[in-house]
């Protein structure tokens, strides 16, 4: 077992994903973040985006269920007046995706090596400079962990991950 898979399995054990529908109003993100902070709940990642209904936004929060029982996190969140609904996703019941951008220092030889590596992961090169490359990968968090670990063998100038978004896995027969 590699270090990366050990880490991600350990993480998925502690992680739970909450998708939270909130009113699209000023200050709502601060209310959610403030709640986590003052109750001592840890967030692994948080992604926010508008939904197809402009009155609402959806937060995808990956919570550390070791910092507090999941049920307590959900009940406290649900008390926020601007929180409309909460659904929880166990990691094995969710389809999760995340985006990573990484800028790596390269010379002529390394350039093709990294392009090849990113190609194996079905990532893309999105920007090329004289001595740097910016690559992008969208995929499962585990896949991103793998590429991040491999890129660690080179000189990473900057690396940014989006935090994950998730939806429930569909049943075999269901829509």
């Amino acid at each position: 077992m590699t270090a990366a898979t050990a880490r991600s399995e350990g993480e998925s054990f502690r992680h739970h994903i909450l998708t939270v529908l909130v009113e699209n109003k000023a200050g709502v993100l601060a209310r959610v973040a403030g709640l986590f902070s003052r109750r001592g709940f840890n967030i692994f990642s948080l992604a926010v985006a508008p939904t197809d209904d402009e009155r609402f936004s959806r937060l995808t929060i990956v919570v550390d269920v070791e910092s507090a029982p999941l049920e307590q996190v959900i009940q406290q969140l649900d008390k926020l007046v601007n929180v409309v609904s909460i659904s929880q996703l166990a990691p094995d019941a969710a389809v999760e995706r995340e985006l990573m951008l990484a800028t790596v220092a390269v010379d002529a030889r390394l350039r093709s090596e990294i392009i090849e590596l990113v190609g194996v992961f079905r990532g893309e090169v999105v920007n090329v400079g004289p001595d740097r490359l910016t690559v992008m990968l969208a995929g499962s968090p585990d896949t991103l962990d793998d590429l991040e670990r491999l890129l660690g063998g080179y000189t990473i100038v900057e690396l940014q991950r989006s935090g994950r978004v998730a939806l429930p896995k569909l049943g075999r027969s269901g829509g």
Partner: protein
């Protein structure tokens, strides 16, 4: 009808049924103060905005109606932060309105600008920054709805000055759907299956205790509680926030549990096989060390706030709902189980065993449990050394106040030793007669809260029992009381110390007294009272206690302050040391030799 935002705000408060509010004007709230001149609402001008907030709390706690406070932006608003925090901890419905700098100036560090919605996010149930005058009626209606439904709590509405000045067309939201609260749906009806499961546990319990918290009062559940207690014959403990929810003189009442609760209430919970938590939240001051709390008890937890369930203790049966509604459903289920009211058993005097309900066939007889409880009550009653060599014992002052005042007197306390003695030695017979700062522990609460309580219930005698440290924090509101002719009475248990801190330093810091001495004479409380338009009385010996109280009771046209010079070395007993197990309860040294078979 065209109105300014300010006019719409006042009209909204009137429409909401507000009769009185507490506040202090300033720059950003100026437009709102103009229509107050033409309003039916009584405005009480405070001397400090913290006073306005605590007055609104006192008003809310005795009337059950939301308290309303108003302040200007910046420091005016931040002065209400402590009352908001206090009301949040004690689930008191409060609507606070603050002025804000104009919308164009927000974020520019303008004069008296403060992001008060940001500051109070964590200590309000919800808050609103109103950006358009046309949003005012809907926001006010939503604010009162949120403050008073579900688990009650404080809310804040921040109104920028240009919004107050702008014109709008008046309307009033007629239905809940008009309030624009898509995420707010408090649950009040308990799950019938959970209630049935709870009643099943109750019928089988051998050593039950009803652990009653503030939710029983918030839900107006006192009558249902008496019925439930008498029907089941279960003993009742009332937490600091629930004093008065169940009569102290009732044979089923064991009194207050917790850090300074009485021995029987504390120990009954420790030995119970069933705790029925009714609107109580397993506060650390009640549980002591959580992993040693009531180790043999199954728990039924009734609370309107789902987040309280399993926050501290995982219950065997969880019932999310309004405490009164759930108790009434429990009574229905007990009816169905054939457990009828047994008047004769409840009416037995305190010495006899009250075992109502347990006579139904096949139910456990609880004579053994009651025998144990009565034995603890006999061996470990509340106790203090009455022999005082001329010094005034603070407990004696509370007892004399109790004996010389009507049973329905409203008692208001701050935080510290005086608060515990008031809770221990007063005899609470009626709901909504006890006003204190429970969860937040806010020193200085008593004087302004008493003013608000008297405004809410002018027909009742209101005594604040305060400490000298607390009194100095908010005494200026006696100027408000004098000016507005609100005749409250204040008993200062003046021991010249920050007494509770002194007690901890004596017991846990090897008598190293650090920054706790205050002096009995500085300030001169009698002169200070007189300067604020009150009658001031000083009491220095035990014989003067009763006459001073009688003199104070005879005055009804202005506030009275009685400076009781009390024994500085008196400590509150019993006491569960902080972080300790409730099994390690420390009783008064005179009782240390007593032993009770367990």
């Amino acid at each position: 009808m065209r109105l300014t935002g300010a006019q719409a705000l006042i009209k909204s408060l009137e429409t909401q049924g507000v009769e009185v509010m507490f506040g202090l004007p300033g720059g950003a709230i100026l437009p709102v103060y103009d229509p107050i001149l033409d309003s039916s609402i009584r405005h009480i001008l405070v001397r400090h905005e913290q006073g306005a907030g605590h007055m609104a709390e006192g008003y809310a706690m005795v009337t059950g109606r939301p308290g309303v406070a108003m302040a200007t932006s910046g420091p005016g608003a931040t002065n209400v932060v402590t009352p908001l925090s206090n009301a949040y901890m004690d689930s008191t419905p409060l609507v606070v309105i603050t002025g804000q700098v104009s919308t164009s100036a927000i974020g520019s560090d303008a004069f008296q600008e403060c992001d008060i919605t940001g500051v109070t996010m964590g200590i309000t149930k919800h808050n609103w920054l109103v950006k358009r005058a046309e949003d005012i009626p809907r926001t006010v209606a939503a604010a009162f709805h949120v403050a008073t439904t579900g688990r009650p709590g404080p809310v804040l509405i921040d109104v920028p000055k240009d919004v107050s000045n702008a014109q709008m067309e008046w309307y009033w939201p007629e239905t809940e759907a008009d309030l624009d609260l898509p995420g707010y749906h408090p649950r009040t009806e308990g799950d019938p299956a959970a209630i049935a499961a709870a009643v099943e546990l109750m019928l089988r319990a051998e050593r039950p205790v009803l652990y009653v918290g503030g939710g029983a009062l918030k839900s107006r559940g006192a009558a249902a509680l008496i019925e439930l207690a008498e029907r089941t014959g279960f003993p009742v403990v009332t937490t600091l926030m629930a004093r008065g929810a169940f009569p102290d003189s009732h044979p089923l009442c064991l009194g207050m549990p917790g850090m300074h609760g009485n021995y029987t209430a504390v120990t009954a919970m420790q030995r119970a096989d069933l705790l029925v938590a009714l609107g109580s939240r397993f506060d650390d001051r009640v549980t002591g060390r959580v992993d040693a709390f009531a180790p043999g008890a199954k728990v039924i937890h009734v609370d309107i706030d789902p987040a309280e369930i399993a926050k501290v203790r995982v219950p065997e049966v969880a019932i999310v709902g309004d405490c009164r509604v759930v108790m009434e459903r429990m009574l229905d289920a007990l009816d169905a189980a054939g457990l009828v009211h047994d008047e004769a058993a409840v009416r037995t005097d305190r010495g006899a065993t009250a075992v109502a309900g347990s006579r139904a066939a096949g139910r456990p007889a609880r004579e053994g449990w009651w025998g144990q409880l009565r034995a603890w009550q006999r061996e470990y009653p509340l106790h203090y050394e009455a022999e005082s060599e001329g010094t005034v014992k603070p407990q004696m002052v509370v007892e004399t106040l109790r004996d010389l005042n009507p049973e329905d007197t409203i008692v208001v306390a701050g935080v510290g030793q005086h608060q515990m003695w008031a809770s221990q030695y007063w005899r609470f017979e009626h709901p909504y007669t006890w006003v204190n700062s429970g969860g937040a522990g806010t020193m200085g609460f008593a004087v302004p809260a008493a003013v608000g309580a008297k405004v809410g219930r002018p027909d009742k005698t209101v005594w604040a029992i305060d400490g000298d440290g607390c009194f100095q924090m908010t005494a200026q509101e006696l100027v408000t009381a004098s000016a507005e002719r609100i005749p409250i009475k204040v008993a200062i248990l003046n021991n010249a110390y920050l007494g509770m801190v002194r007690q901890w330093q004596e017991m846990f810091y090897a008598e190293r007294y650090s920054e706790v001495y205050l002096s009995p004479d500085l300030p001169d409380y009698v002169k200070w009272a007189e300067a604020m338009g009150c009658v001031g009385i000083r009491v220095e010996s035990p014989e003067e206690v009763a006459p001073a109280i009688e003199k104070a009771n005879a005055i009804d046209d202005r506030p009275v302050v009685v400076d009781f010079r009390t024994d500085a070395f008196e400590k509150v007993f019993p006491m569960v040391p902080a972080g300790g197990s409730n099994d390690d309860i420390v009783v008064h040294p005179n009782q240390a030799g007593a032993r009770v078979a367990q």
